[in-house]
C-alpha cells in the first residue's frame, strides 16, 4: 500500500510526535508513506467564500503534486482544507479553470484524498489491524475526541456520521483498549478562541474533559493538533484527576509494540509557551 504523504507545518513542529509515531506504525503495518517533495502550506483555513480562489492556490498545488496517487495527511486541518479544495475542483469548472490556469498545472479533482485514519479503516481494515497488534491496550479506558474538522461538512468530508461517528472508537477497539464514549466527543474544542477568548475555550474544554472523565476515560485520543493544544492548555486547573490526551497514532504505535523516539508533548508545550 503506497501513498503520497503531505505532512503540513504542525507535523514538523508542535505535533512532531504524531508524525513520528505514525511513520513507525505505518512501516510496521506495511503502509508506505512517501513524503511530497518541496511541499508547502496546506492553505491553513478553507475560505468561507466560494469565489475566494487565492486561498486555494496552495492546496491545489499540493493536490496536483500527488500526481493522481492517493494523498494522505495526518493533521485534521490539513486534511480538511485539501479534501474541500479537491471537492471544489471536481465540482466547479469555473474555479478549476481559473486556479489551474494561474498555477499552470493540470488538475481536475482526481485522486483520493485521505486522512490516515481512513487508510486504517478502509484500506487496511480494522480487523486486519487487530490481528497485527502486538501489545493490546488491555484495560486502558480510552475515549475518542473528534472535534469538527474531520467530520464537517459531512457531505464533502465523507469521513463518518458527524453526529455519531465511530472510526476512532473502532480503532481503539482494534487496539484492544477499553472503549468509553463521551457525549461531548463531537462538541467544539474552542478552536482559536483559546487565543482571544480564553474563558470561552476554557468552558468548552472543561465540558469535554469532565464528560470524558465521568464516562470513566483515563486517556483521550484526537487527530487534530489544535484540539489537542486546547485540551491540554485551556482547562481550568481545578485539581481533578488528570486526563491524558494523546494523538491516536501514539496509542497505535504503542499497541504495535513500537518505542518511538520523539520530541514528545513536554517539549511541544514549552515551544508554545515561549511564543
Amino acid at each position: 500500500m503506497r501513498y503520497r504523504y503531505f505532512p503540513g507545518c504542525t507535523l514538523k513542529g508542535q505535533a512532531k510526535n504524531m508524525e513520528d509515531t505514525t511513520m513507525a506504525a505505518a512501516e510496521a503495518l506495511g503502509i508506505e508513506l512517501v513524503e511530497l517533495p518541496e511541499w508547502q502550506c496546506c492553505g491553513a483555513v478553507y475560505p468561507l467564500y466560494e469565489d475566494e480562489l487565492i486561498s486555494l492556490l496552495s492546496p491545489v498545488r499540493t493536490l496536483a503534486a500527488a500526481e493522481g496517487e492517493p494523498l494522505v495527511s495526518l493533521c485534521a486541518a490539513c486534511h480538511h482544507v485539501l479534501k474541500r479544495a479537491q471537492e471544489l475542483m471536481s465540482r466547479n469548472e469555473d474555479a478549476r479553470t481559473k486556479v489551474t490556469d494561474f498555477l499552470e498545472v493540470e488538475y481536475s479533482g482526481e485522486g483520493r484524498v485521505l486522512h490516515f485514519l481512513e487508510v486504517l479503516r478502509d484500506d487496511l481494515g480494522f480487523d486486519k489491524l487487530a490481528e497485527m497488534v502486538k501489545k493490546p491496550l488491555e484495560g486502558r479506558k480510552a475515549a475518542a475526541y473528534y472535534g469538527c474538522l474531520l467530520l464537517r461538512p459531512s457531505k464533502v468530508m465523507q469521513f463518518d456520521d458527524p453526529e455519531n461517528p465511530s472510526i476512532m472508537e473502532d480503532l481503539l477497539k482494534a487496539l484492544g483498549a477499553d472503549v468509553v464514549k463521551s457525549p461531548y466527543r463531537t462538541e467544539c474544542c474552542g478552536a482559536y478562541l483559546s487565543v482571544t477568548e480564553e474563558g470561552v475555550a476554557a468552558d468548552t474544554v472543561d465540558r469535554i474533559l469532565d464528560s470524558a472523565r465521568s464516562a470513566g476515560a483515563e486517556v483521550l485520543i484526537t487527530a487534530c493538533p489544535l484540539c489537542r493544544y486546547n485540551l491540554e492548555n485551556c482547562a481550568r486547573d481545578d485539581g481533578k484527576k488528570p486526563l491524558k490526551v494523546y494523538y491516536f497514532s501514539e496509542l497505535l504505535a504503542e499497541a504495535m509494540g513500537l518505542t518511538v523516539e520523539t520530541a514528545g508533548d513536554d517539549s511541544s508545550k514549552e515551544e508554545v509557551s515561549q511564543r
Partner: protein, 661 residues
C-alpha cells in the same frame, strides 16, 4: 373523395376572441374533400352537437372535423355525437385550436392562419381515417386486494358486500396491519383493537372474502378484467384446517425471536401468532429461529399439539387465479432514526420511536401496558417528544410532512398523563399541523388541559447523563437554548414507503414517486386510480395517511373496482398497433420497447420459392396494447402502424401544413 364536414367552435370568446371564425370557416370550405363548413358558439352543448348530427345526416357526410378544444376535453363527446348520427366515431377528427392556438396567441392576425393550418391538417388526416372497432373484453368478477391492513380490509369488505368475490393477500401471518399495533386512535381515543377486530373477524367470516395470509404475490400477467396472478402461500408448517388456535404450541415452544409486531421490544416464540387477536388464529413456524429447523431436534410443538396440526413437511404453495381488478393497499414503514446521530436512537433503551412508544401503552405489549422506562422499569416523569424526525427535512430525510405525527404525539402525551399523572411532556415541533375533524380541538386540549409544553424548535443533541437523558435544543420563539433532563425521548419518525414498494409496484405495472409511494393517475381527480387500468390504490402506500383518510380512500378504491366488476364486457382500445407480418423482419425491437408487454414473437409459415418457410415475426395483442406508438417508432422497417395514427395519416397532416404556402 370523402365528404368532409368542418365545424368550428367559438368556445365563447376563448377561441373567437383570437381566431377570426368567419375567415376560418371560409378557408375550410376550400380544403380538399370538404363539402360543408359551419360554426357555433358552444359546439359541445346539446345544440352544438345537434348541428353536427343534422349535417351528417342531411349532407351525407362521411368524415367530420371539429375545430375545438383539446381532444382530451371533448373528443369523446363529439365521437359519441357522430356515432349517434350513424358515423363510425373514429372517422371524426379534432383540430385543437384552443390550447394549441387561441390560448397561446394574442394576435388575431397570427392565430387565424394557424387555426386554419390546424384545421387543414385535421381534414387531411380525416380523409385517411378508417372505421375502427374497439374490442370487447371479458371481466373476471373477482377482485384481488394486496395488503390486509385497515385499507385492504375495508376495500375487501366493501367489494364483498357489493356481491363480488375478493381475495386479500397479506404477507404477515395475520391481517390487521399497522392499525392492530395501535393502542388508541385520535381524536376520539377509541381503542384501536376494539374498532378493528370486528372488521378483521367480519373479513374472515364473509362468504365473499377469501383470506390468503402469510402469502405474497409473485407474478401478475394480463390486463384489466383479466389479471392472471400467481400467489405464493408460504408454508406455515401448521395445518390451518386442523389447528384450533388453542395456543399450547406457542406456550410450550422453547425458542424465541424478537417480535416484529412489538417492534423488537419483546420476544415471541418460534411458533407464534403475531398478536392475541390474530386473524386467522393459526400460528406459523419461523424457520430461522426454530430449533427443529435449525438443529433438527425439539419437535415439542408437534408432540404437544392436541389436533396434530403441526406439519414440518409443508411446502410453499403457488395459487394461480384470475382477477378483474386489483387494489394495492400495502401500507407504510417507519423511518429508522439512526441516521440522525444527534438523537442517539439505538444507543439508549429510553429513546424510542412513536410506534415503539405506542406499544408500551398496550395491555398485551412489552410492558403489559405500564408506561415505564425500558432501562430501569421506572415510570418516566419527564418525556420529550420530537416531531418531524425525518419529515420535512430536505437535507437528510424526506421533504414531505408525514401528516399523522402531530396528532399521534398529542394523543400519546394525553395518554401518558392519564397513565402517569405526575408526568410532564415536552413537544419540540416545527409547526403543529392538525387539519382534520376534531383534530385542532384535541391538540389544544392536550396543550391546555394535559399540561403538554409545546416548544417551537429543534433538538440538536440527546445524550445520557447519570440516570437521565439530556435533551438539548432551541426554543426558536424565545431564541433560547433549552436543556431538559428527560426520562424518556419519543421520536416521531417519518412515515415512509415500504422498502420493496417499487418492486411490488412493478409486479402490477404501476409506478412510484421519488419517495417510492405509488402514483395515482391524477393528484386531484383520479386519486385512487393508477395509470394501469384496473389497478387501484388505497391507504398509506400512496402517501402518509391517518385512519379516516385511509378508510375513505379504501372505500373509494372499492367503488372503482366494483364499477369495473359490474360490467359484463369492457371496451378496449381501438387505436392499437398492427404489424404487417409480410414485411416484418422479426428483429423484435418493438417487443423490447413496449411498456405494456403487448408484443410477442410468433412463428408464421410463408410460401417461398415453391416451398414453405417458417420464420419469426412480431405480433400485437390488441387487448394489452394501449396505443402509445413506441413500437411504431422503434420499428426499423416501418412495418408497424398505429390504427388511427398511421404513418400515412401523420404525413398527410405534415404535408397539409407544410405544402400550403
Amino acid at each position: 373523395m370523402p365528404r368532409t364536414g368542418v365545424f368550428i367552435c367559438h368556445c365563447g370568446t376563448n377561441i373567437a376572441g383570437t381566431v377570426d371564425i368567419d375567415k376560418a370557416v371560409e378557408a375550410s370550405r376550400n380544403f380538399p374533400g370538404v363539402v360543408h363548413a359551419d360554426e357555433y358558439r358552444y359546439l359541445c352543448s346539446e345544440m352544438g352537437q345537434d348541428i353536427i348530427k343534422k349535417a351528417i345526416e342531411e349532407q351525407d357526410l362521411d368524415r367530420v372535423v371539429v375545430g375545438t378544444c383539446s381532444p382530451r376535453m371533448h373528443e369523446a363527446t363529439f365521437r359519441k355525437a357522430a356515432a349517434e348520427a350513424g358515423l363510425n366515431p373514429y372517422l371524426l377528427e379534432v383540430a385543437n385550436i384552443r390550447e394549441h392556438c387561441s390560448w397561446v396567441h394574442k394576435d388575431m392576425g397570427e392565430a387565424t392562419p394557424k387555426a386554419i393550418s390546424l384545421l387543414r391538417a385535421a381534414a387531411a388526416k380525416a380523409a385517411l381515417n378508417t372505421a375502427l372497432e374497439a374490442p370487447r373484453l371479458d371481466v373476471e368478477k373477482r377482485a384481488l386486494v394486496i395488503g390486509g391492513g385497515i385499507a385492504g380490509i375495508q376495500a375487501a369488505l366493501d367489494i364483498a358486500e357489493a356481491g363480488y368475490e375478493v381475495d386479500i393477500v397479506e404477507r404477515e401471518p395475520s391481517i390487521g396491519g399497522r392499525m392492530a399495533q395501535l393502542e388508541k386512535t385520535f381524536p376520539t381515543l377509541d381503542c384501536s383493537a376494539c374498532i378493528l377486530t370486528p372488521k378483521m373477524v367480519e373479513a374472515a367470516q364473509h362468504p365473499n372474502v377469501n383470506l390468503l395470509t402469510y402469502s405474497e404475490v409473485e407474478e401478475v400477467k394480463g390486463f384489466v378484467g383479466q389479471f392472471d396472478v400467481k400467489i405464493k402461500k408460504k408454508a406455515r408448517y401448521v395445518d390451518s384446517v386442523k389447528c384450533t388456535g388453542c395456543g399450547i404450541c406457542w406456550e410450550k415452544c422453547p425458542s424465541k425471536a424478537p417480535s416484529e409486531f412489538e417492534m423488537g421490544l419483546a420476544k415471541r416464540k418460534s411458533i407464534y401468532v403475531p398478536f392475541a387477536q390474530a386473524v386467522p388464529n393459526v400460528p406459523v413456524i419461523d424457520r430461522d429461529s426454530c430449533l427443529y429447523f435449525r438443529k433438527g431436534r425439539c419437535q415439542i410443538c408437534e408432540k404437544e399439539c392436541p389436533p396434530q396440526a403441526i406439519d414440518y413437511e409443508q411446502q410453499d404453495e403457488i395459487i394461480e387465479r384470475r382477477y378483474g381488478a386489483i387494489i394495492m393497499a400495502t401500507g407504510f414503514d417507519q423511518l429508522d432514526p439512526t441516521i440522525y446521530g444527534e438523537y442517539g436512537y439505538g444507543q439508549h433503551p429510553d429513546i424510542l420511536t412513536g410506534l415503539e412508544f405506542e406499544r408500551l401503552f398496550n395491555a398485551s405489549g412489552p410492558t403489559g401496558g405500564k408506561i415505564v422506562r425500558l432501562s430501569d422499569g421506572k415510570p418516566p416523569k419527564k418525556v420529550v417528544f420530537i416531531q418531524c424526525v425525518g419529515s420535512r427535512d430536505k437535507a437528510r430525510g424526506m421533504n414531505y410532512c408525514s401528516k399523522i405525527c402531530c396528532m399521534y404525539t398529542a394523543k400519546q402525551a394525553v395518554l401518558l398523563k392519564e397513565k402517569v399523572p405526575d408526568a410532564k411532556s415536552y413537544v419540540f415541533y416545527i409547526d403543529v399541523r392538525t387539519a382534520g375533524k376534531g383534530y385542532e380541538e384535541f391538540q389544544r386540549r392536550a396543550a391546555e388541559e394535559y399540561d403538554v409544553a409545546y416548544l417551537r424548535g429543534q433538538v440538536g443533541k440527546i445524550f445520557p447523563e447519570e440516570d437521565h437523558l439530556v435533551v438539548r435544543g432551541v426554543d426558536s420563539l424565545s431564541g433560547r437554548l433549552i436543556e431538559i433532563n428527560a426520562d424518556m425521548v419519543v421520536l416521531a419518525a417519518a412515515s415512509i414507503a415500504r422498502c420493496d414498494a417499487p418492486e411490488v409496484g412493478r409486479l402490477v405495472g404501476i409506478n412510484s414517486d421519488s419517495y417510492n409511494f405509488f402514483n395515482e393517475a391524477h393528484p386531484k381527480l383520479k386519486p385512487v386510480e393508477t395509470h394501469t387500468a384496473g389497478v387501484f390504490i388505497a391507504g398509506a402506500c400512496q402517501s402518509p395517511k391517518d385512519i379516516p383518510d385511509t378508510v375513505s380512500q379504501a372505500s373509494a378504491a372499492a367503488v372503482k373496482a366494483i364499477g369495473l366488476l359490474s360490467k359484463d364486457k369492457l371496451q378496449g382500445e381501438a387505436c392499437t398497433a398492427e404489424v404487417n407480418q409480410a414485411e416484418c423482419s422479426g428483429c423484435l425491437y418493438c417487443e423490447a420497447v413496449c411498456p405494456y408487454s403487448a408484443i410477442s414473437p410468433v412463428e408464421i409459415e410463408e410460401r417461398y420459392h415453391g416451398g414453405t418457410l417458417k420464420r419469426t415475426v412480431a405480433e400485437v395483442n390488441p387487448a394489452l396494447c394501449k396505443g402509445c406508438g413506441s413500437c411504431t417508432v422503434a420499428c426499423r422497417s416501418g412495418t408497424i402502424n398505429l390504427k388511427g395514427f398511421s404513418n400515412e395519416q401523420i404525413l398527410a397532416e405534415v404535408d397539409a401544413i407544410c405544402l400550403q404556402r
